[in-house]
Symmetry: C2
Subunit: 199 residues, 2 copies
DNA sequence: AATGTTTGCCAACACGTGTTGACTTAACTG
DNA sequence: CAGTTAAGTCAACACGTGTTGGCAAACATT
């Protein structure tokens, strides 16, 4: 009952916890949710499978911890409006080339409802809000963010998951030159004539 | 030995085969490769799981048969060059709204290497060749087709798999108005200044 | 009618999975 | 040093999976 140490004491098991998390991210990214087994993850982390259960409760719990992800989007309000597309595509390529977490999430989201839910959460809570802050017209911000997501995730899918050769071969500069204008258009183009002729 | 009937005789089991295939497509589309179990597919088709094995050899074999897919792309050489984007996006939305096979393939491709391979095959054998036929510059056709694929598949992913609300809510007309120009640009835009500084 | 073949169902195998609880070892605490 | 707690190991359970072979009914062929 007497708790004299600070709330954030470093437990002796923190190294193990971190090793599990690292192995889990790699496995989830490489194999997806179903094929990434707890036994394989534990083997990578050189511990017993039961440790995973003790520290993360269940496979779902482990995935939830491993799929925590911050896009680290810059403040788009400070970016020159005509360079939004270029800035965003550059940021994304750098971000997921350095950290496989988003690829893991993407792979898992294709089959696991919880992962898909988290994916939606990330894009609503991070992308959509960032776009809204930079947008002159908040009413269309969500739709614009959705279109941006479709291109960004499509790129991640074809480049890192399906590995379509021509998309894999593009270097970051070419990628920026090609896709930047697309993002830019989705963000800043005036609404297309919504010829709302009742279906 | 005496085969009097034509080579393509209709076997009595053809109905069952078709029922299995139909159920398999639905299950693979809804659940992905791993979660779609043979038992569930057989139950949907109202037959015994062992029938699936008899007719398709294995789960891999069943998937191979279920993921046979023809994009049915029109001859792009006959499309007015300034309407390529609109034509393609319209075609794709209609195509995969009517047939869940491509969604099944997409879901499976996220985790199953064989499915990813088939996905690459479809886009190399169908999309890339169609684009090459319409392109003035065959040298860049493959790259352009890859970019088109990234946007098309990203749309399918966000709309039918992850189900991002703003993308789900777009009706086909809005989709065409927004994404058509993107496809158009990927297909017909002159090459961006590839500042080819060594590698 | 008798025979062979196709179509289908049943029960079971072998295996890998997530998960659990009992036990041993290490580390800290008085 | 004794005693308590944390960290880690081991073996096993219960379950669902793909897959297999045997057997009965329906059909086709002579």
């Amino acid at each position: 009952m007497d708790v004299t140490e600070p709330a954030t004491r470093t437990r002796r098991s923190d190294a193990t916890r971190a090793a599990i998390l690292r192995a889990a991210r790699e496995r989830f990214a490489a194999d997806g949710y179903d094929r990434a087994t707890i036994r394989a993850i534990a083997a990578d982390a050189r511990i017993d499978p039961s440790m995973v259960m003790r520290y993360y409760g269940s496979k779902e719990g482990l995935f939830a911890a491993a799929a925590e992800f911050d896009l680290r989007l810059p403040d788009l309000a400070e970016v020159p409006p005509d360079r939004l597309g270029e800035t965003l595509i550059r940021h994304f390529v750098r971000r997921w080339e350095a950290d496989g977490t988003l690829v893991a999430l993407l792979r898992a989201a294709a089959t696991n409802p919880g992962a898909a839910d988290r994916m939606r959460g990330i894009f609503a809570g991070q992308l959509a809000t960032a776009v809204a802050r930079s947008s002159a017209d908040p009413a269309t911000a969500e739709r614009r963010a959705g279109l941006v997501a479709s291109q960004i995730l499509g790129l991640a899918l074809t480049r890192y998951v399906v590995r379509l050769p021509p998309v894999v071969d593009l270097d970051p500069e070419e990628l920026t030159a090609w896709v930047g204008p697309t993002i830019q258009r989705y963000l800043t183009q005036p609404l297309p004539p919504s010829r709302a002729s009742g279906r």
